[in-house]
């Protein structure tokens, strides 16, 4: 196991932020901690790299108890924080040099590693201009490069693509996949379901400091719901009449006027609704079930915090 979190709780004053949480991340896996803002994802991460001390419980990384030998653990992991830690006055190459020195890298290894990362994250075009002149996506790539200076066996990414445009997100995902295929274990937090679904081999859904369920994304979907979703607007009092005469599966969720029905095969239901709505047809969406639905089903709240 690369990361073993055993019965960890964290209390800030009277507030219990992480509640008896356990999780295991095995080598070579991309593991996602999924949950809304304030669920305890960042606190859990901070405990894993040792800047927040658990109130109770133990954490082992690479088999080492982090309360015993934090330096040894940190020398083998990399962390990309949510906030920018770039030195704005310095260029990407200079930033990488400073960061490499934190890991006590020396020449010629230091320069070799900088060149590798400049190439890997495609930083070459602006390698020597002050970082404050770089775009958001460029800065994020540089931030990830910084955390790779020491060739970490475990890479921790806190909200790696929050605030980035779709093209940049896609590019970053592909870099993260490259790292995983080279054998780096990745632990990331996100509140984007699509990100978790595309990148992660396993995800843990976390809400109010607890893990509600954990597993490969597709397994979570089939265990809790069904592969296809029919989504449409329908007032609560109208629902019974609309769906009358159908033998519907057990899972159905409602968010305000929106109803989501989860099925093995969505065709019959969508046809049924089309058929009922004769003149004025409502919009019916048929789509694959995703982790957002699972989250909704498990917690009764939506991830974007609307409910």
């Amino acid at each position: 196991m690369i990361v073993e979190v055993s019965s960890v709780s964290k209390r800030f004053g009277s507030r219990l932020v992480v509640d008896n949480l356990s999780l295991m991340v095995s080598a070579g896996v991309c593991f996602g901690l999924l949950g809304p803002n304030g669920a305890g994802k960042t606190t859990t991460m901070r405990m894993i790299y040792g800047v927040t001390q658990p109130t109770s419980g133990t954490i082992r990384v690479f088999g080492i108890d982090i309360a015993r030998n934090l330096r040894a653990v940190r020398s083998r992991l990399g962390v990309t924080l949510q906030q920018s830690v770039l030195i704005e006055a310095l260029s990407p190459r200079e930033n990488l040099r400073v960061f490499g020195r934190y890991h006590l890298l020396r020449e010629p290894e230091l320069s070799r590693r900088i060149d590798e990362l400049v190439e890997f994250l495609e930083l070459g075009s602006h390698g020597d201009v002050p970082s404050k002149q770089l775009s958001g996506g460029f800065q994020r790539r540089l931030a990830i490069a910084l955390s790779l200076m020491n060739r970490p066996q475990l890479l921790i990414l806190d909200e790696p693509t929050t605030g980035l445009d779709p093209a940049v997100r896609l590019a970053l995902w592909s870099r993260i996949r490259d790292l995983r295929s080279e054998g780096t274990t990745i632990l990331l937090t996100t509140h984007y379901m699509d990100e978790a679904q595309r990148l992660c081999d396993r995800v843990a859904i976390i809400s109010r400091g607890k893990i509600i369920d954990e597993g490969p994304p597709t397994d979570l979907i089939t265990t809790h719901l069904a592969p296809e979703t029919v989504e449409f607007d329908c007032a609560p009092e109208e629902e019974a009449t609309l769906l009358y005469g159908l033998s519907l599966p057990s899972r159905r969720l409602r968010v305000g006027k929106r109803v989501m029905v989860y099925l093995e095969d969505a065709t019959s239901l969508s046809d049924h609704i089309r058929h009922r709505d004769e003149g004025d047809r409502r919009a019916v969406v048929v789509r694959p079930t995703n982790l957002e639905d699972v989250f909704l089903a498990l917690t009764g709240t939506s991830l974007e915090g609307g409910l």
Binding site: V51, T52, Q53, Q83, V98, Y102, H103
Partner: protein
């Protein structure tokens, strides 16, 4: 937890990497500032003063100004610059994702503040030498530059780590460093102007001790009170460093 010297040096090198970009512009004022003081006060005001503390006014003034330069060099670094690194640049949060520990950060910052104190104080000393004010025994005052640097680095760090917002630095500069500059024996012997039962006030002022030591070195005189001065610098620095160590641990971990 203990200090790892290579890690502390990597913190120092971060600051050095940034300073290297601007030192050419920074170092020039460092040379001019002492020249202005020596001209205005030493030569200008000094022309109306026949002697002070048994010497010419210019000679009286020189050693204290070396200590003031060291104090300023360290203070700028550990106030605004440390606060920016801590709060806005998140430099220490970044370091905490690497094998660097809070103790290494503290050690690196102190070392860097002392480096700046040495640059300021050193420039001043060179100017004094050019003006013929640095006597052979005055070389003994050189170690006081890093000592004053550590003392004011420690004071400033505790302040920077404890204050809730950046605006409070104006208090530090106006209500703490400025009075120290004006009343710590640099311009006149404070003890001679204080009533008998207020003499202890002078002894509380942190800048007064390096100034008294520096003046003794410049004049080549030794007296028992210098042991107290040296003891004050060492003990107060050590106590404040312990406090700063606690404070930085609390700021960076939870």
């Amino acid at each position: 937890m203990s200090v790892s010297v290579p890690h502390a040096l990597s913190v120092w090198r971060r600051n050095a990497a940034m300073y290297r970009r601007t030192w050419k512009w920074n170092i020039l004022p460092n040379f001019f500032e002492p020249v202005f003081y020596l001209f205005s006060l030493g030569i200008g005001v000094g022309a109306y003063i026949t002697e002070m503390g048994g010497t010419s006014y210019l000679t009286f003034l020189a050693p204290g100004l070396v200590c003031v330069a060291a104090m300023n060099g360290a203070s700028f670094e550990v106030t605004y610059n440390v606060y920016v690194r801590l709060t806005f640049e998140k430099a220490y949060d970044a370091m905490m994702t690497t094998p660097i520990e809070p103790d290494d950060i503290l050690a690196g910052e102190i070392l860097w503040a002392v480096t700046r104190a040495c640059i300021y104080g050193g420039c001043f000393f060179v100017i004094l030498a050019i003006f013929g004010l640095a006597t052979l025994p005055s070389l003994l005052a050189l170690p006081l530059i890093p000592l004053a640097g550590v003392l004011f680095a420690a004071i400033g760090l505790v302040f920077s780590l404890k204050i809730p917002n950046i605006d409070l630095f104006s208090f530090y500069f106006t209500l703490f460093l400025t009075p120290l500059f004006l009343f710590s024996d640099v311009f006149f012997p404070l003890a001679e102007r204080l009533p008998e039962n207020w003499l202890w006030v002078a002894e509380v002022l942190p800048l007064l001790h390096p100034v008294r030591l520096a003046r003794s070195a410049f004049q080549g005189e030794i007296s028992p009170i210098l042991i107290w001065d040296l003891g004050y610098i060492l003990v107060v620095s050590a106590m404040l460093l312990l406090w700063a160590r606690r404070a930085i641990g609390q700021r960076l971990t939870n």
